[in-house]
């Protein structure tokens, strides 16, 4: 149904999730998933340095959303909410076997597109150098860089995700960038 698909593509994330909460139509969910899963996977790769764990975690976040779309307030910004859920998920990584099985089953039932990696790019020396430098930043510093420059959130949105003032975010971002530079320099020399 090309027309129906085109219609989904025209909708905002907030509209799609609001409609999905009412109708539970998998096409709506699939559209949100396709828009954000790569960005979210990238976010988890930067945090974990493990592409496979990142893939699982991105899928788990989407399964959480799939299971409880009504927890999203349509007045809210979807990206802010998504990365808040992702941040919390990262903190309390779901490790229990039963939950993981449940997520994998739900994911298979939905037949969503699979996430694939070109390992050579992820494992390249260049990327590994930046990845290991990122690891040396504090969790807060890493998060602000990721949300600002990988996931393109505004300072205001980041302050909502991390629940602190915009001034604090700017300050963290400033020092995080300088520290990243310092670490990259130290490593290369």
């Amino acid at each position: 149904m090309p027309t129906a698909m085109a219609k989904e593509k025209d909708k905002t994330d907030e509209e799609l999730l609001g409609l999905f909460a009412q109708s539970e139509d998998p096409i709506l969910f699939s559209e949100i998933y396709k828009r954000h899963v790569r960005g979210l996977t990238k976010y988890f790769i930067w945090l974990s340095s493990d592409p496979n764990l990142a893939k699982d975690m991105a899928q788990e976040v989407f399964m959480k959303i799939y299971g409880k779309p009504s927890s999203f307030d349509p007045e809210q910004n979807f990206k802010v909410w998504l990365y808040s859920v992702a941040g919390n998920h990262w903190k309390n990584q779901i490790r229990t076997h039963s939950n993981r099985i449940k997520f994998i089953k739900a994911y298979k039932d939905l037949s969503l597109p699979k996430i694939e990696f070109e390992e050579a790019l992820i494992l390249s020396d260049k990327h590994q150098r930046v990845q290991s430098a990122m690891k040396l930043l504090t969790e807060n510093q890493r998060s602000v860089i990721l949300l600002k420059y990988s996931n393109n959130l505004t300072i205001r949105e980041i302050s909502q995700v991390l629940d602190c003032s915009e001034g604090t975010i700017k300050s963290r971002l400033f020092y995080a960038i300088l520290k990243l530079k310092e670490i990259i320099y130290e490593k290369s020399s």
Partner: protein
């Protein structure tokens, strides 16, 4: 240098996009009103390296759509039709069939009656000729 708390968002975006040397005069003075050229360049360099790596990472991640073979029977079994719709369809079909049967019966009866009347009156209906007695009989 101003307190990092007070740096505008535009400055962070500018640093990510362009090196100090490539800024126009207005942008340069805007940046210099908050941070020094050296700090700007250091931040730009760090972000360039980071962004390059981040873009490569995004390229490395792809989505592979499964070519799902459609299982028509499964889809049919999963189809949920409300009971009232099934009942309405049943009543409609039953009504249409009844009307059809009734019409067929009426037509057959008319043919039988017409043949019977022809025999009784000992006439045959030809084109344009309908004896009054036969019409009355029919």
């Amino acid at each position: 240098m101003k307190n990092p708390h007070d740096l505008p968002e535009e400055l962070f975006d500018m640093i990510a996009k362009s090196s100090f040397i490539n800024l126009d005069a207005d942008a340069k003075s805007f940046a210099l009103s908050y941070i020094s050229k050296e700090v700007y360049d250091e931040m730009h360099e760090a972000l360039s390296i980071y962004k390059e790596s981040d873009d490569a990472l995004m390229e490395a991640i792809s989505l592979q759509e499964d070519v799902v073979k459609r299982n028509r029977f499964r889809e049919l079994m999963q189809l949920q039709v409300p009971l009232y719709k099934v009942a309405a369809m049943f009543i409609l079909c039953f009504g249409l069939i009844t009307i059809y049967i009734k019409q067929t019966e009426d037509q057959s009866l008319a043919v039988i009656q017409y043949q019977k009347a022809e025999k009784m009156e000992n006439v045959s209906v030809q084109e344009g000729y309908y004896p009054e007695s036969l019409v009355f009989e029919l």
